[in-house]
Amino acid sequence: MDKTYYDPKDLKKFGDIAEFGPELAKKFFDYYGDVFKEGALTSREKSLIALAVAHAIQCPYCIDAYTSDTLEKGADEEQMMEAIHVSAAIRGGASLVHGVQMMNKVKEITMQ
């Protein structure tokens, strides 16, 4: 297969989205830059959150970008994997908590 939906080279072209809409792109990238600045959270903590979210939304570009970024910010493999488990726990929990809805419905439509 010589074509895929995701091409790692496209990550480097992220800024090119300005071509079809410069004003909104500028607003977005300015906002993006500000979000990741040191604040009440350190830039390393923000990067680990981004890595976890990248896995939750399963964005290959974001996973590549924030794997490098967390390493640059001084995170280690243990911290990175823990961040992904947080993501997995929330995703798994989000499915499981709907089990309550299922149980409610079962109880509603079956003889108890």
Partner: protein, 347 residues
């Protein structure tokens, strides 16, 4: 692991390294010269020599995967006392205030201690790039902390990470544990302690294909982790970017990351860092007395240019201060992001 030279690897030849580096067109990045021209900073000129860096030999007790010197136990190139004397004669009556001793493991040079004593007698500030493990490698080196303290030598030591996994992956099995032991020995004589004038600075360099993050932020993490985990104190952390030469170049090529890394460095070119590169105030002396703009140019055998004599026996500070600095594609490593030098970030 053996050195590239001992393995007869083609990257042991500087011509092969330069051939790879100079093919910037296939990567699609500007030549470093063009980049400097774009910011009106070419040719690169010195600001005046303040730091005299001496590589006293390529022999080392470690064989780190990223070593730009291709140092190791199998390297026998070592500076003689005669060349050291020429260094002393060259800087005696100059304004050069700092001498930076590097290697290999500089302490393995049999005349290392003599050289330190002579430099101290000249009133020069001495720095040593100590790999830490040499202190515990052999009983004859166990007193190095006391020796350093006697001459107020500033100790600069590599510790790429505050855990064994990452450190050992780069520097060899067991290096982290031995480094911690050596750091405790340095702390015990007062190095890195509050209110002490014995300076202990650590060097962080990435353990892979990424650039160092914020020096300030990494220093905070290192201080906290080394204090909490090992009761170790140090003064400052210097972040250094790995330059794509020698064994780090080998790693980049083998892992298939060379192109991406060069692109990353070039895209992160920072004009402020370019103006603060260390070669502008440093001169580098090789084990055989030849002169270079920096330790990296030394390893690529890019001798200083023809406008000044290129050997320590003909040292001419006036001509050196008027020379043009030799540049090549590896220089992107010193100008990327927050910049990189033997003293850490520059921008």
């Amino acid at each position: 692991m053996k050195s590239l030279k001992a393995r007869k690897h083609d990257l042991a030849l500087v011509d092969r390294q330069l051939e790879i580096l100079e093919d910037n067109q296939s990567i699609g990045i500007d030549s470093f010269e063009d980049k400097l021209q774009q910011i009106d900073h070419y040719p690169l000129k010195p600001t005046g020599i303040e730091v005299f860096q001496v590589n006293v030999g390529k022999m080392c007790n470690q064989t780190c995967k990223h070593c730009h010197v291709d140092a190791g136990p199998d390297r026998k190139e070592i500076m003689t006392r005669e060349t050291m004397q020429q260094c002393l004669d060259a800087i005696r009556d100059t304004d050069i205030h700092t001498v930076d001793l590097t290697g290999g493991a500089p302490e393995m040079n049999p005349d290392f201690r003599w050289f330190v004593r002579e430099l101290s007698a000249l009133g020069k500030h001495i720095m040593v790039r100590c790999n830490l493990t040499i202190i515990v490698a052999n009983p004859k080196y166990n007193d190095l902390p006391e020796f350093f303290s006697k001459y107020k030598v500033e100790v600069i030591s590599s510790l790429p990470y505050f855990s064994a996994r990452r450190t050992d992956a780069q520097r060899g099995e067991g290096v982290f544990e031995r480094s911690i032991k050596a750091l405790k020995m340095l702390n015990a004589v007062g190095y890195g302690k509050v209110d002490s004038d014995l300076m202990l600075n650590l060097v962080y360099n990435p353990t892979g294909v990424f650039m160092p993050g914020s020096q300030e932020s990494l220093e905070l993490q290192f201080k906290q982790k080394l204090k909490d985990g090992f009761s170790i104190d140090f003064n400052s952390l210097y972040t250094i970017t790995n330059l794509p030469i020698s064994r780090f170049l080998e790693y980049l090529v083998i892992s298939g990351n060379y192109k991406d890394y060069m692109e990353k460095l070039a895209n992160a070119f920072n004009p402020v860092a370019a103006k603060g590169v260390m070669c502008r105030n440093t001169i580098s002396v090789g084990w055989d007395g030849y002169l270079f703009d920096c330790d990296f140019n030394q390893m690529l055998e890019l001798n200083i240019n023809n406008s000044a004599p290129d050997h320590i026996k003909d040292f001419d500070i006036k001509k050196l201060n008027n020379r043009e600095i030799i540049i090549n594609q590896h220089c992107y490593g010193c100008t990327a992001g927050a910049g990189s030098s033997c003293g850490g970030a520059t921008a």
